[in-house]
Symmetry: C2
Subunit: 289 residues, 2 copies
């Protein structure tokens, strides 16, 4: 009988994502990982500990990192880059560092800059989330059947990548690999651009309609703009991190919208119908039930 | 004891909206209305009749209109305008005609053009719907607590308006009044523009990402673009009917998006944060739980 060694995971940031990783591990594979939590917000750590998500709440980043085989930075993108700088003096060769950020190129560059030789960085982006953030919304099933994209850094050997991939499979995610540039391009179009569009829609509608008129917004409008309630700080970070690709995506979208404007202005019924039919077909092909 | 006279309603078009009006009346106030259905699609009429939504399925528009106190055109916008022309020879003074179209200016103009003197036209737009159309999705509760906007034509006296308002209250809707131009402006921004944006988003993302990359679209993306699966013919009609105001809405939106692009390109973190915070606040103010 082969007994796998129990490994130690330090989660930095006990919010929705960090809390859900911890909850999934303790619920499903409690023998595989000893889970430590680090967060300046003591209430979040206490909440996670009371629910049995954590083996230990740590008082400092240094305390959490000291024993860890794997450190996962589960904080917003700008904080990930700060924590990478802070980790520089704390990590040792053989340790693995990962994250959950929704942009990857800048984070990989910072990891290469700050982390000492022998420390592997494996970027990760779990494509999961809820309308509302915070550890109090954490659930063990958050990542079930959702993609988790890994973007290994140059310093990451096969064993480090396999360890991070195993973690994400254990919490229910389907692991796939992209290089950081491809990741950032794809998510600029599939996630960052739609969020900017939602913000701009709310901006436009609330300017054009008075408060009484706005009450006429139907379910469709709210579907579109639900995510426009997400954390402004998160989206500020994403915009600045992924600026160049996001600007390209905005320009592509503006061109598509301008093309539609031209079709509407020309009033060619057949061409409009054909165009909308192609969009519906593209949508049906994208849909994952 | 006052016994209200039972009146006769003829619903032209037995789809989601027409079927749900019939279902709600027969479920809630069966003594108030005798409900007739007209539709060239015999299967839709049969479906509605088998479920008890109708007192009678009519073989022709003429048969349905002959006995009706109120005729409701529950068909797409371009078909409403065709049916108004067809009604010209069939209606008599004292009868009331209404519709359910999501644009109003052109329909009111056509009603004024086609309907003989003494026939009241009261435009109606129930702000309700589902992702999927068709009588098989009709439910009595479709209009519950949803707005129904009435846009009475110049020919409509108080009694006719009161009759149509009573019908919509009986099926559960909250009735309010707008002039047709205001209606079309408000819905250009709250409904038509978002649909165009959804189509353009699908168009952009499916062009920029290959099929494997597209599988990474998360729930947010699908929230945005769910409605991009709606009937292309319906949206072609809306675009052509409400062209001028929709073009203004598209231009306002393009300007808002361009403003956001400039903020992102400039990379001013504080201003981006402030802008997103204002959008979130506007969204929260618009939200009807």
């Amino acid at each position: 009988m082969i007994v796998e060694q129990r490994r130690t995971l330090c989660i930095v940031g006990m919010g929705l994502i960090g809390g859900s990783i911890a909850a999934a591990l303790k619920t499903r594979v409690p023998q595989r990982w000893r889970v430590l939590g680090v967060d300046r917000r003591r209430g979040c750590l206490r909440y996670a500990q009371e629910r049995g998500f954590l083996d230990q709440a740590c008082d400092s980043l240094g305390e959490g990192v000291a024993d860890a085989d794997l450190v996962v930075l589960a904080v917003p993108v700008s904080a990930i880059r700060e924590q990478l700088a802070a980790l520089a003096a704390l990590v040792r060769p053989g340790q693995i560092v990962s994250d959950v950020g929704s942009t990857k190129t800048g984070i990989l560059a910072d990891a290469a800059l700050h982390l000492p030789e022998g420390v592997a960085f494996v970027g990760a982006h779990p494509v999961a989330g809820l309308e509302h953030s915070g550890v109090e919304n954490a659930v063990p099933g958050l990542f079930d059947a959702r993609p988790c994209v890994l973007t290994p850094g140059g310093s990451a050997g096969d064993a480090a990548v396999a360890t991070v991939a195993a973690l994400w499979r254990e919490v229910g995610a389907e692991v796939l690999y992209l290089d950081a540039h491809t990741h950032d391009r794809v998510f600029a179009f599939l996630s960052h651009l739609p969020h900017m569009v939602a913000y701009a829609l709310v901006d436009t509608a609330s300017t054009a309609c008075n408060p009484q008129e706005r009450t006429l917004a139907g379910g469709d409008f709210h579907d579109f703009t639900r995510v426009a309630r997400n954390s402004p700080a998160v989206w500020r970070d994403v915009c600045l991190e992924n600026r160049d690709v996001l600007l390209q995506a905005l320009d592509s979208f503006a061109a598509a919208l301008q093309g539609m404007r031209t079709r509407i202005a020309e009033g060619n019924a057949d061409e409009l119908l054909h165009h909308f039919q192609r969009c519906v077909q593209a949508k049906d092909e994208m849909w994952i039930p």
